[in-house]
């Protein structure tokens, strides 16, 4: 048995039965002996025999004829258990019901019965083509969330304007003066936990509403050009001519529809075949409502080929690599104060180059100026504070940046993605960038200048020999801008901002900056009893968080003192400082932080 190379299907053996024909008899024209294999029959009678091979019999001998030329037969003698013999001219030679006809048939049947010969059940030799598949043959469904099981955005939505996503990536489209309400429905679902309940009001064929799956709109449709796909969905509706499927590739094939649901209130499969045009520029699948009513939609499917496929649950992959993550998959933010929520140095305005919102550094380019403040009124969604910057450009760009250097950088020298929410009132004025000391700056696109928040992103492979990694908002033209919700994540897919607990957010900031005193209480305090003037009393003041490097310690203001001088910082390390005060005379003495501006600031910057 051979195998077809393309289809993999076995080419089945065919038993070589001899041919038979009714009323097939004539006589020998010439006598033959017992060994002759060429036989002459009466002139003009050779044509009564069937095509070769066939059995023929003469007296008690059975022969098999393998060739015939007009009235001359070429035969094998003494077949089917008989003995070859001489026959005289005029003897009848004919087809009889000889034993071999039956034994050949019985043998073939027995081979099928005992499995020697496989039975080809309805299968042709060669490939099984798509158009011969049954609907229960599994094929990959090209739609995302085809079962309406995932509703990350909202579980119910009335859509007053087009393009609002309700069940990723399904979104509604409405025309003027009608509404579309889409709700997650667990009661009417046919398969799985949920279906979509779609209610339309004020609609008509000319003024329809639609629920579109947008996942094929992007790059996927390009792979379907020239292919026929079958679009199907399970739909339930009690209104006739109300709901149907709609597809459009914005190309030659254009707008196509399925038949309407009959409105009998039971789930029906709506489907249509669609040839995606070679000049397609998009491909959108819709459930279209052309009359007021409610429809339940479940188990949508788009498969390649002309036969619909029964809906199957999405296979769960055994792992999801980083490149397949969506931006809304929460990941760890490597930045400090990425949300610009913490302003330990004050809310500004900061106009001199240096640090502003904790670890965010203002790098002012030559000739430029900027004023940086905390802004609550212009913060991004879910955010309390944004960084506001009023920028005047000079001869070189300016930055608001955060640096990682030295030992802190080691773990991040790999592919990273940086994103930031930016609002700006001028186009081509601000973009974000990633820096490493080997590849230098790499940039995102510019903010459009539309004065709305936009997500800017940049991805870069940080060199393994880099000594510095910086992320920055890069300012290169006059503008007022707001920065919020910055994320730096490992991997090539930028991530939406994920807030961290305020305690953790502050703890990161405290690694680089903290203030002691100035909180209304009389601490820190150095207190002792001296037997004379000039005696010291000291204390070790431990930081709230170990510093990244040996910090600068700054004592601010004139502290309150009784029988003592001002406190002196005697020693500094990454964990604490030593502070001491000196007595003026014998007796109790103390020096303490007792008012506004009487602080010690610990600062350790990269």
């Amino acid at each position: 048995m051979s195998v077809d190379e393309r289809s993999g299907i076995e080419a089945y053996a065919v038993t070589p039965f001899t041919n038979i024909k009714n009323n097939c008899a004539t006589v020998l024209n010439v006598s033959i002996d017992a060994v002759q294999t060429s036989i002459q029959v009466v002139a003009g009678s050779g044509a009564i025999f069937p095509a070769t091979p066939f059995y023929c019999s003469c007296e008690y001998e059975v022969m098999i004829c393998n060739g015939r030329s007009v009235d001359t037969l070429t035969v094998a003698r003494g077949q089917d258990g008989t003995t070859a013999a001489a026959h005289v001219a005029g003897t009848i030679i004919e087809q009889r019901n000889n034993a071999a006809l039956w034994t050949d048939l019985a043998s073939s049947i027995n081979k099928i019965e005992n499995g020697t010969t496989p039975v080809p059940l309805n299968a042709p030799v060669g490939s099984i083509t798509n158009d011969r598949l049954a609907t229960d043959v599994y094929r990959p469904n090209l739609l995302q969330n085809s079962g309406f099981e995932v509703w990350q955005i909202t579980s119910s939505l009335t859509i007053p304007s087009s393009g609002t996503i309700f069940a990723d990536p399904w979104q509604g489209t409405v025309a003027t003066s009608n509404t579309l309400t889409v709700t997650r429905d667990a009661i009417n679902a046919e398969l799985g936990y949920c279906c979509a309940m779609v209610a339309a009001a004020g609609v008509s064929v000319a003024n329809f509403v639609a629920v579109a799956n947008t996942c094929l709109n992007t790059s996927i449709y390009a792979q379907l050009k020239g292919k026929t796909v079958t679009i199907s969905a399970r739909v339930k509706c009690s209104v006739a001519s109300c709901v149907r499927l709609r597809a459009n590739d914005s190309g030659t094939t254009g707008l196509q529809f399925s038949a309407y649901h009959p409105g009998d209130g039971v789930y029906r499969t709506l489907s249509l075949n669609y040839l995606v045009s070679a000049n397609a520029t998009a491909f959108q699948i819709n459930v279209e409502m052309d009359a007021p009513g409610t429809a339940y939609v479940d188990s949508a499917s788009v498969v390649i080929g002309t036969i619909a496929a029964d809906w199957q649950p999405t296979p769960v992959p055994d792992y999801v690599p980083n490149v397949r993550l969506a931006s809304d998959v929460a990941r760890a933010n490597l930045l400090t104060n990425g949300g610009f929520e913490i302003w330990q140095r004050g809310n500004g305005p900061f106009t001199v180059g240096g640090y502003s919102a904790d670890k965010w550094f203002m790098g002012i380019g030559t000739g430029g100026s900027m004023s940086v403040s905390a802004s609550q009124g212009n913060a991004d969604l879910y955010s309390l504070n944004a960084l506001s910057v009023a920028y005047t450009h000079g001869s070189a760009p300016s930055t608001i940046q955060q640096d990682l250097k030295g030992a802190e950088l080691y773990q991040f020298r790999r592919i990273v993605a940086f994103s930031m929410r930016v609002k700006a009132n001028s186009s081509n004025a601000i973009r974000i960038a990633l820096y490493d000391s080997v590849n230098l700056w790499r940039y995102s696109g510019y903010h459009s200048g539309g004065n709305n928040y936009e997500t800017l992103t940049v991805v870069a492979d940080i060199s393994g020999s880099s000594t510095q990694l910086s992320v920055a908002a890069f300012l290169s033209a006059n503008c007022t801008a707001y920065l919020d919700n910055a994320m730096l994540v490992i991997g090539s897919v930028p991530a939406d901002y994920v807030p961290i607990h305020p305690a953790d957010d502050l703890a990161r900031c405290l690694r680089y900056y903290e203030t002691m005193g100035d909180k209304g209480a009389t601490v820190p305090t150095i207190r002792g009893i001296a037997t004379a003037g000039g005696q010291n009393m000291g204390a070790n003041l431990v930081y709230k968080a170990r510093k990244a490097v040996t910090p600068t310690a700054t004592k601010n203001g004139t502290w309150s003192a009784s029988n003592a001088g001002q406190p002196i910082i005697a020693a500094v390390d990454v964990d604490m400082i030593e502070l001491y005060a000196t007595s003026t005379a014998a007796g109790p003495f103390q020096s303490w932080s007792g008012g506004a501006g009487q602080t010690i600031i610990i600062e350790a910057n990269p």
């Binding site: 140095r345 001199v352 240096g354 250097k405 030295g406 030992a407 000594t467 900056y513 490097v549 040996t550 910090p551 600068t552 310690a553 700054t554 004592k555 601010n556 203001g557 004139t558 001002q566 910082i569 020693a571 500094v572 400082i577 501006g597 602080t599 600031i601 600062e603 350790a604 910057n605 990269p606």
Partner: protein, 184 residues
């Protein structure tokens, strides 16, 4: 928010300082900046306007590399209180000495002064006394009269970083921990 340098005049040797917390700005002679410890690791910058003061580490603290550079200028102007380097040495030797302090405080990768940055497996050594007074790199072998540049291994580097006073045997390349040295 510290008292930090914002400008320096090489000719007059005057620093312009900014007390960020209170936005006080004033000028101070380099010579009026004082060491805050006898280790030579810290120096003290006092605000002339309010008596606030910042203790800066040689490694940079709030504002590397400006503070690192200030430290090297300071030890060029006056004896380093660690006793290893007297005033008046070359800029290159003073930078190497500041880098030694910086690295002993916060590791060799903390040094951010761009000039002379690079190879770290070099030290500057007294010709007489053999004290290690600075960390490379250097562009010339003779960085100042009385000092040479020596190449060391990673094990020796580790000892130099962990101990404030070490002496290098130039013949064997071995280093030994020594007692405090007073500048001469």
């Amino acid at each position: 928010m510290s008292i930090r340098p914002v400008a320096y005049n090489e000719v007059t040797k005057i620093y312009t300082m900014l007390h960020e917390e209170l936005n006080h700005q004033y000028d101070i002679l380099l010579n009026d900046i004082t060491f805050a410890s006898d280790s030579g690791d810290f120096f003290n910058v006092v605000c002339f306007i309010c008596d606030g003061n910042s203790i800066h580490p040689a490694s940079g603290g709030a504002i590397p590399p400006d503070i690192q550079l200030l430290h090297s200028r300071l030890i060029q102007a006056k004896d380093c209180t660690c006793g290893l380097l007297p005033a008046g040495k070359t800029e290159e030797l003073c930078l190497s000495h500041s880098k030694l302090h910086c690295s002993q405080l916060d590791g060799i990768e903390r040094w951010q002064v761009e000039q002379n940055a690079g190879e770290s497996l070099q030290v500057s050594v007294e010709t007489v006394g053999s004290y290690v007074v600075g960390m490379g790199p250097f562009t010339t072998a003779q960085i100042d009269e009385g000092y040479t540049v020596e190449i060391i291994g990673a094990r020796v580097l580790e000892i130099v970083l962990r101990n404030r006073y070490t002496q290098l045997d130039k013949e064997t390349g071995e280093v030994k921990v020594a007692g405090r040295k007073n500048a001469t």
